[in-house]
Amino acid sequence: MLTSILVYGLINSVILALITLGFTLTFGISGVANFAYGAFYIFAGYLTWTLLNQLGLPYFLAATLSVIITAFLGFSMYWIFLMRLRGLVLSEVIATFAVGVAILELFRWAGFVTYEFSLPYLVKGSVEVAGVVVDLQRLTIVAITAALLLFIWLFTRHTKIGLSFRGIAQEEYTALCFGINPDRTAALSLAFGSAIAAVAAIAVLPLGVISVNTGYDVLLIALAIAVIGGLESITGTIIASFILGYAQIITATYLSPGWMILVYLAAILIVLIVKPSGLFGKFKELEERV
């Protein structure tokens, strides 16, 4: 029993982390809270499905194209809507939220709601880990997440774009003095975050069905974890994912799966009352912004 909780908890946590990663990255780099995040996630899913089934493309081609096109979608959302709203945080929020809802409801209207829509597994079969049966797909997700984190770590330390990401994230004005274009960096950060959302979608959606409501759920998850871990911190995302991931599995095992959602609500409320900036958040409360 305990080992199964440990193993499933780990996998669940990694899934949550993977889902949230794109959102945290975008926010951490450019301060843009992408409320259309869930929409991009689902968009990538439907796009992959379409490429696979309507156009009959081979899997890896479809997957790669999806990631690129979703990244482009994120980039253009910035260019079209957000560039003019730069700095008006609340208008940005309204705009991304509206775009997200528009995309999701468009899919709902277009009829993407039946059970036919699912993505194929990357790897089939299952294996035993520490006496617990786990399917390979889930293990692949863990591997993908680890690889992704490594990639991000290397990217932000050794490439020009990556370094400019860190520069803008740490101190925007100084970065401007170095000739880093904030608009371009912000747009790229959105592209980057959306691309990661696409990767997450391709990896995780095969576990279930692609549905429009999942889009809202994903946004919910990302926001919950981001709040708990600190809106802009990747470390925080990971830690918060683990906390929530295990809390979910424990609740599902000892209470009933229906109560899992309450875990989120309770966690957010506790965090906001005790340490509002999140576990690893940088910005403290209102007054301390000197």
Binding site: V99, P276, L286
Partner: protein
């Protein structure tokens, strides 16, 4: 040499004549001032009297416009303090469910459930949002976005309060006059009360200060968090009222009470109508809701279209329709040549 022109905006003559006590000197001036304010109010108050004539469709449209107008008004008041709500559906749903539950489980009549739901709902919503008031504005937006989704899923998962089926066969409103007049009067009362609060009191000045620069207001000895909490409560009232009212209007309450429509529509109305004016969002409601109803054939595509239109509006015409109309009413434009030729 070609003469270059620039655009110039000048107050209309009649506006200048109206600026002080001179407005009382002639009927024309008084009419100029009163008309834009009195006419819509008069129209709204007369409308229910036409009840037999205009047909059920238009009655529903006006009622629904009032409901959305209440939600949009509530949104605007919160926005005036810098709190952007992405989930008016939260307030709406809380009010709706409290009224529905009181009626279903305790048999209380609408005359009791609606006021109770309004006040209790506002209190609950304020308490739930309290933790976010100390934080950056984005947390409030985040929380209001997330709460209705949460509540929907909690109800679905735990099956309380009727679960996915909802509570039906609730008591109806006494008669058609109540159905039509109550939302209209509520809307007007809240509108005028809020306008007075925001624009004609020192309290309102403090609120506008908080939106502008909360640290400066704090330096002036004002506890901004207490004021923000007060505003959330005061602004929730029309929204919870709207939910409670609609529950008895439809005689049903269910998960759709937390639906996204109730969050997006008021937001769109506020943006289109003009943020910060209080009257603007109401105006926006009476423009957008009839269109929304007319597009019923499109089903959920409507929400998509509205969201997209909202995003475009936020970017292109942030000041909204109300400001535009007001400017046109008070000022006119003309082209003026730049530079002075000889003579003059």
């Amino acid at each position: 040499m070609a003469v270059k022109y620039r655009k110039e905006r000048i107050d209309r003559g009649i506006k200048a004549r109206c600026d002080d006590i001179f407005a009382l000197t002639s009927h024309r001036e008084m009419l100029y001032l009163l008309l834009p304010r009195a006419l819509p109010v008069a129209l709204l108050l007369i409308f229910p009297l036409l009840q037999g004539v205009v047909g059920l469709y238009w009655e529903r449209v006006v009622t629904f416009s009032c409901v959305i107008g209440l939600l949009a008004l509530s949104w605007d008041l919160m926005a005036a303090v810098g709190l952007i709500s992405l989930g008016q559906a939260f307030f709406f749903g809380v009010g709706a469910y409290i009224a529905g539950a009181l009626n279903y489980y305790f048999g209380l009549p609408p005359i009791v459930t609606i006021p109770t739901a309004t006040l209790a709902g506002a209190l609950i919503c304020t308490l739930l949002l309290l933790p976010t008031l100390r934080l950056r504005g984005i947390y409030f937006a985040l929380f209001t976005l997330v709460l209705p989704l949460f509540f929907m899923r909690i109800i679905e998962a735990t099956k309380i309060l009727g679960g996915t089926v909802g509570l039906s066969s609730l008591s109806p409103l006494p008669n058609v006059w109540v159905e039509l007049y109550v939302p209209i009067i509520a809307l007007l009362v809240f509108l005028f009360a809020y306008r007075r609060l925001l624009f004609a009191t020192d309290y309102g000045t403090i609120l506008m200060g908080i939106r502008d620069n909360d640290r400066a207001v704090m330096a002036g000895g004002i506890n901004i968090y207490w004021y923000k909490a007060q505003i959330v409560f005061i602004a929730s009232l029309p929204a919870t009222f709207a939910g409670a009212f609609l529950t008895h209007y439809y005689q049903f309450v269910g998960m759709p009470a937390f639906a996204l429509d109730y969050s997006i529509l008021p937001l769109a109305c506020a943006v289109v109508g003009g943020i910060g004016t209080l009257a603007g969002p109401v105006l926006g409601a009476f423009i957008l809701v009839p269109i929304f109803e007319a597009l019923r054939a499109f089903g959920t595509l409507r929400v998509a279209m509205y969201s997209l239109a909202l995003a475009i509006f936020v970017v292109t015409l942030p000041e909204g329709v109300f400001h535009y109309l007001r400017r046109k009413y008070h000022q006119f434009e003309r082209l003026v040549p730049i530079g002075v030729e000889e003579g003059g």
